[in-house]
């Protein structure tokens, strides 16, 4: 049942879609239509652009829409017509849907989805255990920028923090709306963290966003939320009805040229949209022209957990033994001396031969300590 104070008018949306030449999405009751106006607005954590910036965004978005509609749109590059990080040869790199709750922390969720998705996809390891802390990014690093649940944030500074400082794992600082669990980063958080190798601004560069999705991982997106968006259940969203509610941030996890749409991961739980995901038309609501930021890679510091050694590599170069570990990918074998390096490599090869479990400390891609059992 729709909340009595909901800003969503499902009948008005249905009428607007019925009058549309190409109705592309289905409205209905969602977890968001069952909330009050105040509660849904609380979940929109991107400050709206000022009028000057808005006019600029309008011009850029019009360009994107015109380009997307042009018959030659797909010819420019050798990009595939569809790429969906939820299903690459049966593997899901997009990760599970989260719920930000009643806090304007969407930027942390969109940014961490980029970090986690990139960590998995850039290694081509869908099973990589990489649940990073939205709380650390938002209530920790964000607080240093004056960020609160009320102010919201932007993905560019958020991912810059991920590149300059990194963020710890969710287990070290679990997320609660408003940080009501009183969490903070443990003193040794830097030994258990993900850190971007660099951030890259792809705003308004549609082909580059697609290329990044194909090569590296997800990309953030900010967009204007109108009230009809809360009632989205499936299809390709475009704004048809309702007033502007605020600014929001999500992660783009794919695209589909045949539908002219981005595939996005939201942070409103699985009771909204298509189990938490949605499609939105290219050029719609500034989705691809406002703040599309990504990371070039993600270094991790953590124990691998109990995994098998699946492959090994060596060249004649000094201390250049590598192992491919289950759900982890290639790791350089460490060692501060030749003997230490050889000892680690020998233990790893022995574990591989015996199909034994290994627990290794991964220090930004290098094994510095290991157990084999």
């Amino acid at each position: 049942m729709t909340h009595h104070d909901s800003p969503v008018d499902l009948e008005a949306i249905r009428s607007a879609l019925a009058e549309d030449d190409e109705p592309s999405w289905e409205p209905g009751e969602t977890s968001m239509t069952r909330m009050s106006d105040q509660d849904v607005t609380m979940r929109l954590g991107v400050p709206l652009p000022d009028p000057g910036e808005l006019a600029q965004l309008d011009r850029k978005a019009a360009k994107v829409r015109a380009f997307a509609a042009a018959p030659s749109a797909g010819d420019a590059t050798a990009l595939p017509a569809k790429h969906d990080l939820r299903n690459i040869g049966g593997a899901n790199y997009a990760g599970a849907i989260r719920n930000q709750g009643s806090c304007g922390s969407c930027v942390a969720f969109g940014s961490v989805a980029v970090m986690e998705g990139t960590a998995r996809y850039s290694r081509r390891t869908p099973g990589l255990n990489v649940d990073l802390s939205e709380a650390h990014l938002f209530y920790g690093h964000g607080a240093g920028h004056g960020v609160t649940c009320q102010t919201g944030w932007l993905p560019k500074p958020a991912l810059a923090e991920c590149a300059s400082k990194g963020i710890t794992y969710e287990a070290n600082w679990p997320y609660t709306s408003g940080n009501t669990n009183g969490g903070s980063a443990p003193a040794n958080w830097e030994s258990h963290r993900g850190k971007a190798t660099g951030s890259v601004d792809l705003t308004s560069k549609v082909a580059d966003i697609k290329q990044h999705l194909v090569n590296t991982g997800p990309v953030t997106a900010c967009f204007i939320v109108y009230n009809d968006f809360f009632g989205y259940t499936s299809g390709v969203y475009k704004h048809v009805s309702g007033a502007q509610a605020g600014g929001h941030c999500v992660a783009i996890v794919g695209y589909d040229d045949s539908q002219g749409a981005w595939i996005c991961k939201n942070s409103w739980g699985t009771g909204w949209g298509m189990n938490g995901f949605f499609l939105i038309k290219y050029g719609e609501c500034y989705i691809d022209t406002w703040q599309n930021v990504a990371v070039s890679g993600v270094n991790l510091r953590t124990w691998t957990g109990n995994v098998k050694v699946l492959g090994a590599y060596a060249s004649g170069h000094q201390r250049n033994g590598w192992v491919y570990m289950e759900n982890t990918g290639w790791l350089l074998v460490g060692g501060t001396t030749d003997t230490a390096h050889t000892a680690l490599f020998a233990d790893l090869l022995n574990a591989k031969e015996e199909n034994a479990f290994v627990g290794a400390y991964n220090d930004d891609g290098k094994i510095t300590q290991l157990y084999a059992y």
């Binding site: 690459i88 040869g89 049966g90 593997a91 996809y121 081509r124 869908p126 699946l310 492959g311 090994a312 590599y313 060596a314 060249s315 004649g316 170069h317 000094q318 201390r319 250049n320 033994g321 590598w322 491919y324 290639w330 350089l332 030749d338 390096h341 050889t342 490599f345 020998a346 090869l349 591989k352 031969e353």
Partner: protein
């Protein structure tokens, strides 16, 4: 007998090919008979440079790069040889024969030796790259 730096072929029925200095001899028919042969071979690509780039065989999303040198794949390592000379470790591939493992560094030569031993022990054919000098520059074993 001199301290010749070649692997011996005990009771060789025929005269072995004249050995070159610090290099293993051809395996004899008898030695070849002693070699076991099991296991499947699968390799889809090779890395280049110092870091590996090959994806596990059969993985959904391939991370592979083309090999710069000559690729040797699908051949098991069925014998090893080393002597007292520095960084002078060799592996015998099924049809390519004896190949010296890259002598670029101490730890590199040791790593390659360990890896060749692992390949021989498991019967998994390596995906190897032979450089223009005829040595194995790098090697993957899955």
């Amino acid at each position: 007998m001199s301290t010749k730096t070649n692997p011996r072929s005990a009771e060789a029925p025929e005269a072995p090919p004249a050995p070159r200095t610090e290099q293993p001899q051809e395996l004899t028919a008898e030695q070849l008979q002693l070699l076991a042969s099991t296991g499947e071979v699968s390799a889809t690509g090779a890395g280049e440079g110092e870091a590996p780039a090959m994806a596990p065989p059969g993985s959904a999303a391939g991370l592979s790069a083309s090999a710069a040198g000559a690729t040797i794949s699908g051949q098991k390592i069925n014998a090893l040889w080393a002597d007292q000379t520095n960084r002078n470790s060799w592996a015998h591939l099924e049809t390519a024969g004896w190949k010296r493992l890259s002598p670029l560094s101490d730890s590199g030569s040791t790593n390659m030796t360990l890896l060749a031993g692992h390949a021989r022990a498991t019967g998994h054919a390596p995906y190897a790259n032979e450089d223009p000098a005829g040595t194995i520059a790098y090697m993957y074993v899955w």
